[in-house]
């Protein structure tokens, strides 16, 4: 097993190297650049553009920029003041030493930008996933156990419907209904807040919960639909297995069979699926964060994309890819630990 993990880690490293080149090329080749159009001036005076390019390190050929991004430029001389001679050392240390550069837009270190937003995304997505699982698992179990009953059909139909609703549309509708139309009968204020994580200057669980309701509803629907159907199908497989027939023949109570045997086996594929879905927590839900003014990673990426803020884009992409690869490995390990039939050499 250890050997397997070691081998996989090496493979992951290889893929990361490949990805770093692909992503770097992708980000830079996209037409448009960070110097254009974000500002009110619509167009930048050429003198300013030249200085900005130097400050951003964009005046070097792409392969050099790639190397600088990886390992920094504090070991080589650069022309920092535009006088044509490379007479000072660079200031960047490269991602391999933990320096992801600074945002073109805010001039703040990229890791700081991420650090300020990641907790908010983890908070939102974490709760969304918990709520989603909390509803999906019981729904899936009931659906499977009472297959073809009215309850099953209702749950399944709702699940299909839930998967078909586009998240961004749902968000608009939720805002329309719960903020614009509905009012709190006591205070006359909107029933639920329009967005943000909390009201200012009040720290209460209730306030936080109110602010979570709509974004979580919006983000969780798709998960609930998907996981409940997945679990249902998983449970159905297991429920028809021979060893359960044996258990029933032995006279064991149905509930016991359900929890001890069926669920535990049905959960296995769900757990691995979940592990594979975990990395989405990092990049956040772009739509939910935009519509509900949530200060998270998704919005950071979206803004960086429109402004061609290369360092931020690259950092989010490469970290996201790394997390996905690691979570794949994690899922495989989990699968092997839980299911004794699986062996890796």
């Amino acid at each position: 097993m250890i050997q397997y993990i070691a081998r996989r880690l090496v493979q992951i490293l290889g893929i990361m190297v490949l990805l770093s080149i692909v992503l770097f090329a992708l980000v830079n080749i996209a037409p448009g650049g960070p110097l254009a159009g974000q500002g009110q001036s619509r167009h930048i005076p050429p003198e300013r553009a030249a200085a900005l390019k130097r400050q951003f390190g964009l005046d070097k050929p792409l392969p050099v920029q790639y190397v600088v991004w990886l390992v920094g430029n504090d070991w080589m001389r650069v022309d920092a003041d535009g006088d044509g001679t490379a007479d000072s050392y660079g200031t960047r240390r490269g991602i391999l030493r933990g320096d992801f550069g600074f945002s073109f837009q805010t001039r703040q270190p990229v890791l700081d930008e991420i650090r300020l937003r990641l907790p908010n995304t983890l908070y939102l997505m974490g709760i969304t996933l918990l709520v989603a699982l909390g509803i999906a698992i019981p729904a899936g179990i009931i659906s499977a156990v009472k297959q073809y009953s009215k309850i099953d059909i209702t749950i399944t139909t709702l699940a299909f419907a839930g998967q078909a609703v586009p998240e961004f549309w749902l968000g608009l509708l939720l805002i329309l209904v719960f903020y614009v139309w509905l009012q709190n009968p006591f205070t006359g204020e909107p029933l639920l807040p329009s967005g943000g994580m909390s009201s200012l200057d009040t720290f209460s669980l209730w306030d936080r919960t109110r602010h979570l309701i709509l974004p979580v509803m919006c983000g969780a629907l798709g998960w609930i639909a998907w996981y409940s159907r997945f679990l249902r199908s998983s449970m159905l497989d297991v429920l028809h297995m021979d060893y359960l027939r044996t258990a029933r023949a032995k006279g064991l109570p149905e509930r016991f069979i359900l929890y001890k045997h069926a669920l535990r086996n049905a959960i296995i594929p769900l757990v691995t699926m979940f592990a594979l879905d975990l990395p989405t927590i990092f990049a956040g839900a772009v739509f939910v964060e935009i519509l509900f003014s949530w200060p998270g990673m998704g919005r950071l990426y979206y803004q960086a994309a429109t402004q061609r803020d290369y360092p931020v884009l690259l950092a989010v992409l490469i970290i996201g890819a790394g997390l996905i690869l690691l979570s794949n490995l994690l899922a495989d390990i989990l699968y092997a630990t839980i299911d004794p039939r699986i062996r890796y050499e």
């Binding site: 448009g32 200085a51 400050q55 805010t106 300020l116 903020y179 329009s194 003014s293 803004q303 402004q307």
Partner: protein, 567 residues
């Protein structure tokens, strides 16, 4: 066994719910009621407090609240002194011109009563420090006038002289206006550099407010500056800025009272809010941005209009035809609800108002111009072909791409579609294309469509702030600005006459300047170089709790935040 478990679960749930209710029911601290606190909502964080670096407008919003420049510009395009005690001019001896050498010196006297929020007085030292930081070749930034200032000299604690090496007409906003302010010499770190010093994110205040907290992506809180030099101001104790990306959500928040001011409302939202009780919309009297039609005079993909002229737009008659085919009034009134005013010349603002006749909307005349230019529709398909036209091959269709950018939002996209229809009516075939601003205006190497000449006809808004258009005109109409990477004469209009006039405009003789500008106005009008269409609204919406709000097309709405009061 199981019964007890259930009871246990039930009890725990009850306790949790109870505690939530109890904590939730704690009365909110009601700061909004005790203090005079207002909320402003904007769609994204300002990148910093340094408005010239970020250039997003939201940085100017917060910068106005916290920092002062030597001067400011009011909504009627008058320049007024902020940190300066008075405006220097030739009359009061503030501006001294050496005619023989062609140089000038501008002396600024700084107010003696302004302090930084840590008690230190604002002095000439800060002005010199700021200018030197801006001019630093490594970490500074180019600003208009940079090329003309030799150095800045401190005369005494409250007097500074800018030594110019040639006549520069924009001296009044050299360290003022919307984006430039004076930074504290004792607080900002020159090592970090003007472009990214920490004091640009955690500023020391000389203005009416002080930054209290900034939760990135969520909100910023400002408190009134007790050391602010104007007594009795500001009339607001606290300003909270909330970040809300969705336009309609911000609008709803204003309607529900969850915010007091939304910055930069579009025409549609202005219209929607204008009639509402308790809500007002302030519209700026000056409109900085004017929507225009850019027609490439060089063939698509090239940048030299002489060797490879554009098959359609190198001919002035075609350009004039385009101008006459666009029904500006209908668009301005219907799509923009009359908030937009027709515009047809760069020189419509005092004191350089030139009398250029407004081009008439006349599709028949436009068609006649096209016929005369050799574009006729002989096969009856509704699209003209070249029959004896100047720069295209016989039989080529009059079809091209009409591009605009999506970032402003719906109004410009709608105008884009309407203009496409109107051009189709006179026998052209414009293909409507939407290109991100960051692609349209990028450098040629980055695939910028305009710098590389890879466009036919573009539609977007531009303009200048303040009174003096000299620098702006130079960037857009000078022949040497047509070289990719050297400027923004993207229509590649080469005119020695214009170049001559641009040089002559750099004089301090106001009469001469006005004369020169009006000659330019005539020339631009005859040549239909970049036909202007109509102004784009510059407005802000606010709740009637607030008083003193005035939209400013030359700055942003917080230009007079010190004068605001809460009812």
């Amino acid at each position: 066994m199981s019964i007890n478990l259930n009871k246990l679960f039930g009890a725990i749930t009850f306790l949790v719910v109870l505690s939530i209710i109890l904590t939730g029911c704690a009365p909110a601290q009601g700061i909004q009621d005790e203090q005079r606190s207002i909320t402003i909502t904007i769609p994204e964080d300002p990148p910093s407090f340094n408005a010239i670096i970020g250039d997003t407008g939201y940085d100017a919003l917060v910068s106005n609240m916290v920092l002062l420049g030597l001067t400011g510009i009011d909504p009627d395009s008058n320049i007024y002194p902020e940190l300066a005690a008075e405006l220097p001019s030739q009359e009061n001896g503030g501006v001294v011109v050496d005619e023989n050498a062609g140089t000038m010196d501008v002396t600024w006297k700084i107010r003696q009563d302004v302090k930084w929020s840590d008690g230190t007085p604002v002095t000439a030292e800060d002005v010199v420090f700021t200018w030197n930081a801006i001019m630093d070749p490594e970490k500074g930034i180019w600003v208009r006038g940079s090329d003309y200032v030799d150095n800045v000299e401190k005369i005494d604690e409250h007097t500074v002289v800018f030594h110019y090496n040639s006549l520069y007409t924009g001296y009044l906003t050299q360290l003022g206006g919307e984006q430039l302010v004076v930074w504290p010499a004792h607080y900002c770190d020159p090592e970090q550099g003007f472009s990214q010093w920490d004091c640009g994110r955690e500023p020391l205040s000389s203005g009416p407010f002080v930054l209290k907290e900034w939760q990135v992506g969520d909100h910023m809180t400002f408190e009134k500056n007790p050391n602010y030099f104007e007594a009795g101001k500001p009339g607001v104790d606290e300003i909270v800025i909330k970040i809300v990306p969705e336009d309609s959500v911000r609008k709803e928040m204003l309607l529900k009272g969850d915010t007091d001011l939304i910055m930069w409302v579009s025409e549609t939202i202005a219209r929607e809010l204008d009639g509402q009780p308790n809500i007002s919309v302030s519209v700026s009297p000056t409109n900085r941005w004017v929507l225009r039609v850019y027609m490439n005079e060089a063939a698509r993909g090239t940048t030299d209009p002489v060797s490879s002229p554009n098959p359609f737009f190198a001919d002035v008659r075609v350009r004039q035809a385009v101008r006459q085919a666009i029904d500006v009034d209908t668009i301005a009134e219907s799509v923009f609800y009359g908030y937009s005013k027709p515009a047809w010349t760069e020189f419509a603002r005092e004191p350089y108002k030139c009398d250029v006749p407004r081009p008439k909307y006349d599709p028949e005349a436009a068609k006649a111009l096209l016929e005369e230019a050799g574009w006729k529709d002989t096969d009856g398909d509704g699209v003209r072909e070249c029959h004896g036209c100047a720069n295209a091959k016989e039989g080529d269709l009059l079809e091209f791409e009409l591009a605009t950018y999506p970032d402003y939002g719906e109004p410009i996209l709608l105008a884009h579609q309407l203009i496409g229809e109107q051009l189709t009516k006179i026998g052209m075939r414009p293909k409507l294309v939407v290109i991100e601003g960051t692609v349209m205006w990028a450098e040629a190497e980055d695939g910028g469509t305009e710098q590389s000449g890879n466009y036919d006809m573009d539609l977007w808004d531009d303009g200048y702030s303040g009174v003096d258009p000299t620098d702006y005109l130079d960037e857009i109409y000078n022949s040497n600005a047509a070289v990719p990477g050297s400027g923004w004469n993207i229509v590649r209009w080469i005119s020695p006459e214009m170049d001559q006039l641009l040089a002559e405009a750099r004089t301090l003789d106001e009469n001469k300047r006005e004369e020169v500008f009006c000659q330019m106005a005539q020339l631009l009008d005859e040549q239909a170089v970049v036909p202007l269409l109509f102004t784009i609204i510059n407005a802000d919406a606010y709740s009637s709790r607030l008083e003193g709000i005035q939209s400013n097309g030359n700055d942003v709405v917080t230009w007079n935040a010190a004068d605001w009061t809460v009812k």
